[in-house]
């Protein structure tokens, strides 16, 4: 069994479950990575105990069959320090790890630094007693190992970004023109409480998948193609869904406002109320005159004719 804390295991697995574990042990070639059959069964049951603690035998077997058992065995072999496991890991995933890091960081040097730091963590950071703790210990085989590595890289990148986000030099602020930015005012107009309540209620009724699309598009500024790639649907599907959700949301808010005592006209006005920050003013076209300005001489000449 892998080093570290003892896993929480399901009590007394049935014969069917044990048979499935044995079959997966062979299929995953776990013996090659230095794992015994009992150790691998313990790993599988540990994963099952984490995600499906109260599953029936049938559900448990289905769950175990869906695990990426070979990659799970590989990572546990790496955790144990098995040379074959590390050799396989390096061969299969080292290049893709760096490629994923470049893709996440969108910068070669930052990507290399990100991948190097993760690589060190995967190899294992020595604790005080000299024992190494590899991050691969936390891979549970739910998705592919490549996907897990991408996710870990992304999490590390987001954490770094958040840590360094507020560390902006004064020069950079001056360049951006934000050195004198006033703090957000706390005594803004609270508006009509009924509108606030109606929006909250309407948003609560939106399905999670629809809210995900709304948030990704309007809050995160993701493109339809990016959302479609994550949801594994066509881009046009996301577009249609977004149009539909926004339309339904507006109707729902209006309906709730009317139910709260507003007239339909008031509800429409409340919905159509335009925030100044929403305005996308084209300063150039606003300042541009239709005809070139005439000089005083030209004006005088024009009036005298």
């Amino acid at each position: 069994m892998a080093e570290g804390s003892q896993p929480t295991q399901l009590a007394l697995p049935s014969a069917d479950v044990r048979e499935t574990c044995a079959r997966l042990f062979v299929a995953a070639q776990a013996l090659r990575f230095g794992l015994t059959e009992d150790a691998f069964q313990s790993v599988l049951l540990e994963v099952a105990a984490k995600y499906v603690p109260s599953a029936s035998d049938r559900d448990l077997i289905s769950f175990l069959q869906c695990l990426h058992s070979e990659e799970l065995a590989l990572t546990r072999g790496c955790v144990l320090g098995n040379e074959t496991a590390w050799e396989v890991f390096m061969t299969r995933y080292r290049a893709s790890l760096y490629e994923a890091a470049y893709a996440v960081a969108k910068d070669e040097s930052a990507g290399r630094e990100l991948a190097d730091s993760l690589y060190a963590e995967l190899y294992g950071i020595p604790k005080e007693n000299g024992e190494r703790v590899s991050k691969l210990r936390y891979y549970m085989g739910r998705g592919s190992l490549a996907g897990w590595l991408r996710t870990v890289l992304a999490q590390e990148f987001v954490n770094r970004y958040r840590r360094t986000r507020h560390e902006v030099s004064l020069e950079a602020r001056i360049e951006e023109g934000t050195q004198f930015t006033a703090p957000a005012s706390s005594n803004q107009d609270p508006g009509d409480a009924r509108v606030d309540q109606a929006i909250s209620d309407a948003l609560s009724s939106v399905a999670p998948s629809d809210r995900f699309i709304l948030s990704a598009y309007y809050l995160d500024g993701r493109t339809l193609a990016e959302i479609a790639r994550v949801l594994q649907v066509h881009e046009s599907t996301v577009s249609r869904k977004l149009e539909k959700v926004v339309g339904v949301l507006r109707k729902e808010i209006c309906k709730r406002l009317i139910a709260a005592g507003m007239s339909s006209r008031q509800a429409d006005e409340a919905m159509q109320h335009v925030d100044v920050r929403d305005l996308n003013v084209n300063v150039r076209s606003g300042l541009q005159q239709e005809s070139p300005p005439r000089t005083f001489y030209q004006k005088e000449k024009g009036t005298s004719q």
Partner: protein, 392 residues
Amino acid sequence: MKELPKSVRDKLASKPIFAAHPDSDLLGAFSEGSLSGSERERVMQHISGCSECREVVFLAAPPPEPVQEGIVPARGSMWRWISPVAAVAVLAVGIGVYQQYRSKSPTGPTEQVLTATTTKPQSAPTAENAMPQSTPRSSPSAKPKSAPPNSGTKTESPRPQAERESELAGFASGMAAGAAGTRAPDAADSRESPSPIAAPRAEQTVEVTAAAPVIAVQDATPARPAPPSAAPVLAAKPAPAVVAKQRARESSDSVEASYAAESAVEVTAGDVPGRAASLVAFRPQWRITESGGLERSTAGNQWQPVLQKSNADFRAVASVGSHVWAGGADGVLYHSTDHGQSWNQLAVGSGGHPITQAIRSILFKDERNGTVTFANGDTWVTNNAGRNWQKQ
């Protein structure tokens, strides 16, 4: 795109997160689409309100793959192009035959006519001896009696009805053979060959028009129209339709052939014009709509939904001949052996435990051997059309 009011956006951003962040395994599996059911719903609920996890999910999304086609070709890429080209060629020949037949009026002047005499075959035409395995280059039994077509004589008298029927039937046999995926021989071969599929009568004078299309049974390769110069062609007694069917069955290379042959069985000499369109090889096409519905093409280039009652969210479809496999979310897999007229649901898995992952792709080499790939990357193989599966 519709704008979302600022107040709604603010409220959307301030939506509190109730659940703890999902671990890396779940987020990674979510990005790959490996999660199913309630687990995916829980993660979706969290990331819809958690900008950090949303960011991670977007960054960890797998790189875009090449677009998977809804219809998996049963053969190599060459067959993908040959099939529609052959269908268009057969259609063009059919239209030409039909137009020519319509243009011939019983009272009008007959076009340039050649006469040829055929001898009685040694035995009645059967499925075996009807196949011209070796067509002689020259045969004394079938010689054109008149000049070449360009200098042919015109006759003023209308042709008898029986002759027109005979010619018409000849077209029918040609169409049947063409639709069954046969190759047109040279004009000289056709003119001189004693045509084993000729009429069992002892002596028969057959009229051949100069513009008659050249289609004859040769082998099981895609049909192609004769060159324009190959005009004079022997139009013999129509071959029994069973010949075309038999040949089509023997030619296992062409998926279209067997399907067209089924139509060719119905051909009779009397209703060729009406059947002309149906003789064209038609192979149903399959596609999956954006909403996950399965659709089959009809002859009129229209699509009709299939398996609507199953409420399945289809992701992949493959067809080999009359066999069709369609699979999708939750490991749902359907199989049809009759072009989608009837369906059986299959279960992929071992030991009575079906896989519940979404099916990402289906690929069948033939009617029995194929693979199914699930969203988690697992590939299962079958060698008996989906009755049993083994993990690869």
